[in-house]
Symmetry: C2
């Protein structure tokens, strides 16, 4: 039986992009179904009733949800090269730990910088810098997180290589100075140089417009909370 | 070399309890280091600088953090019986998905019931019930989540078997009706009947006192926000 691989994604989701990259790196043919998150399809709701979110990978009719879980599924299902996760349990635990850290502490702190201003933004900057330092340390002496090839943790943290510079552009703040984060800066370059990675980035101008609107909405809401009409 | 296995935990953490159970089920000898979360030890901060949280598993001097990641590490390191995760990639992805769902959507919705009152509590109850229904469906026709033996997802959701009834007692609300959640109710019974599980529960009276204080603090803070002094 021919394999059926379908990916439900949106054009902009950094979580879904992880799966696009992983499938392309593994050389898996797949069909893409673009979702509109303001008008989700009945199929998406059927395949991910608990969250109704992208990405969803549909493999021979069976859904797999949550991007980090899908990455592991891809690596365990199509075991040929390149491997995504390291084999050693300790290195594997470390990759999972930093992926989790990226999705929670790091993303939250950077998001707080992006959706605030003044003193609140300064505090969020300090937290983001602490978090980025921890990531920078993981990359000392390495091209990618697990050596010389792109793997699970590179894909999990891949959003940093594109999204941070978009957010920086919108708020005119520099988060990742090359001097402050030399290893992270080199990694961003190495990661972005890979043709599989670069061909999948969403259009930058559309991303800037989308995130500019999001920031404006956040700031309007936050002003309304302080000074109700 | 004799293996050195140390577990940093607190007496009450449901996350740390997952690791105690897993090590005991696998028959791994370990030393417990009890932490006071109001006065964390320098060792805990050294081993988990990113979060400074328990549990931390120290295996031959190497730290592994985050309870769900530690469970996978234990299963990959001590591969003898009982296995914790299923072998099939799809079943494994499903276990990871529901563990993640438990730690985020389910726990948050139940916590919102516990730390609110009135209309807000009613809304949180409705969300919790929807989430619990999804868990109940996973248990149809099964003794445990992956068949006849306790595994990863049982340990990940093990807090439900004890903590929910403690929260219910404090707020005098019944979340898990046997009629409404027949499979979940049976699972709670099956899980709690296991001697390894039951011997590790923290003392119920201390838990009630601890969580009663937490709820009081939440409600006081929430009243202060509405009516500042």
């Amino acid at each position: 039986m021919a394999e059926e691989v379908k990916l439900f994604r949106t054009w902009s989701s950094p979580y879904a992009l992880r799966i696009v990259w992983a499938l392309k790196l593994k050389g898996i043919e797949f069909e893409t179904i673009f979702e509109d998150i303001t008008n989700k399809s009945p199929l998406l709701l059927q395949h991910n009733p608990a969250h109704a979110k992208v990405p969803v990978l549909l493999h021979n009719g069976k859904p797999v949800c949550e991007s980090l879980i899908i990455l592991e599924y891809i690596d365990e299902t199509w075991t040929h090269n390149p491997p995504l996760l390291p084999q050693d349990p300790l290195e594997k635990a470390s990759s999972r730990f930093w992926a989790h850290f990226g999705d929670h502490k790091l993303m939250e702190s950077i998001w707080n910088v992006f959706t605030s201003q003044g003193k609140e933004q300064e505090e969020a900057m300090a937290t983001s810098i602490e978090n980025l330092k921890l990531i920078d340390e993981q990359l000392k002496g390495k091209k990618f997180f697990n050596g010389n090839a792109i793997g699970y943790l590179d894909l999990a943290l891949g959003w940093m290589a594109n999204l941070i510079s978009i957010l920086e552009e919108i708020i005119s703040v520099e988060l990742i100075h090359t001097d402050k984060f030399p290893h992270l800066s080199s990694w961003i370059q190495n990661f972005s140089d890979d043709p599989v990675i670069i061909e999948c980035w969403p259009p930058r101008d559309k991303m800037v417009t989308k995130f500019q609107i999001m920031r404006d909405n956040y700031l309007t809401r936050s002003i309304c909370q302080v000074k109700p009409a």
